[in-house]
């Protein structure tokens, strides 16, 4: 567990830890969540990620970074991995792995793309695809700490079936404690869909709010072109660059 009030600039844990998969949850046809037993877990801050290291029997090693999906308060550290079909690591993590399997992790790492309840709100969280994962850790942390910080979560997805954590988000939003979740579906929509149906743009961000004048802390995570477009739109709406935190992921071999 992270110690409340611990400095954000904590030392980076650089040791590799052998972790055991204790639960596997299929989130969508292309993504699953791995709950991990991590010995001597030092605790994390919502938004941080882990480096994952896989070693094949012949000694071949592959490393990737994955955002932590769980809140610091959760009993298990959880990663959500989207499968990139021609990738090398994600098809293993999101396909081959079963409960009881082991791999190595290092971290948690990253102190810039993080939010803690005591940082306060308002919050504007903008997710592209599986960029929702570190933002979900923030939403879960917010709920676990009953923070009540006014929070707008804008989720962009190709289709409804590809949205991670749909049921949980619906449940969290129904608590009406200041969390509002808005979806935009860019490729296909269910019949009768009344929500947004286009890529995130400045007018959408202005409607979802909060306005730049409220100086929200903004976190944007997704594929690089998504993050660049959203960051540009936010700046055009007057959000101060120092309030806009971005994290990009890209086709790094999956």
């Amino acid at each position: 567990m992270a110690t409340p009030g611990a400095p954000l600039v904590a030392p980076v844990p650089l040791v590799w830890r052998l972790v055991t998969v204790v639960e596997v949850v299929d989130e969508t046809p292309h993504a699953r969540t791995l709950a991990l037993d991590v010995p001597d877990w030092p605790g994390h801050v919502a938004g941080q990620h882990l480096d994952v290291r896989l070693t094949a029997e012949d000694g071949y090693v592959a490393e990737r970074s994955y955002s932590i999906a769980s809140a610091p308060e959760d009993a298990r550290v959880a990663l959500t991995v989207e499968r990139i079909d021609d990738g090398e690591v994600s098809p293993y993590l999101a396909g081959e792995l079963v409960v009881g399997d082991q791999f190595e992790v290092r971290g948690p790492v990253g102190g810039h793309f993080t939010w803690r309840a005591q940082d306060g709100g308002p919050l504007l969280l903008v997710a592209g695809g599986s960029g929702l994962v570190p933002l979900m850790a923030m939403v879960r942390h917010r709920a676990a700490r009953a923070s009540g910080a006014a929070t707008e979560l804008l989720v962009s997805s190709r289709e409804r079936e590809a949205v991670l954590y749909r049921d949980e988000l619906e449940r969290l939003a129904s608590a009406e404690d200041g969390l509002n979740v808005v979806y935009t579906l860019t490729r296909s929509r269910p019949a009768g869909w009344s929500g947004y149906a286009r890529r995130v743009d400045a007018p959408m961000l202005a409607e979802v709010g909060p306005a730049a004048s409220a100086s929200p802390r903004v976190f944007v995570c997704g594929p690089t072109p998504f993050v660049e477009a959203v960051a540009d739109a936010l700046v055009s709406l007057g959000h101060a660059a120092e309030n806009v935190h971005t994290e990009r992921f890209g086709p790094t071999g999956g």
């Binding site: 600039v9 030392p11 790492v109 102190g111 960051a231």
Partner: protein, 96 residues
């Protein structure tokens, strides 16, 4: 600034400094560096390392998000316990 942002927007493979948080931790003796700021010797702006742009070529290149000037070049010597590191600009490293 706008030109640089536009250029980055066309490069689908560019990441940011957050992606090398652990590597930076190793280079800086365990310090959390993505929230540290770097003053650019070229454009004079300061930006968090986490907002710098990360390019992957033969090695890693971290660049100022304002002007594209090189901030860090890292070459990993595969299988060896040495890496080559070039740092440019003014890195503000937390102490204590």
């Amino acid at each position: 600034m706008e030109e640089e942002r536009g250029a980055a927007a066309r490069d689908a493979t560019v990441l940011d400094g957050n992606a090398i948080a652990a590597l930076l931790g190793e280079i800086f003796g365990g310090s959390e560096m993505t929230s540290a700021t770097r003053g650019c010797g070229s454009c004079g702006q300061s930006h968090p390392i986490g907002e710098h742009r990360l390019y992957r070529g033969a090695g890693l290149v971290l660049r100022c998000p304002g002007c594209g000037d090189v901030a860090l070049v890292v070459v990993e010597r595969g299988g060896e316990a040495v890496r080559e590191v070039q740092l440019l600009g003014r890195w503000q490293v937390a102490v204590g």
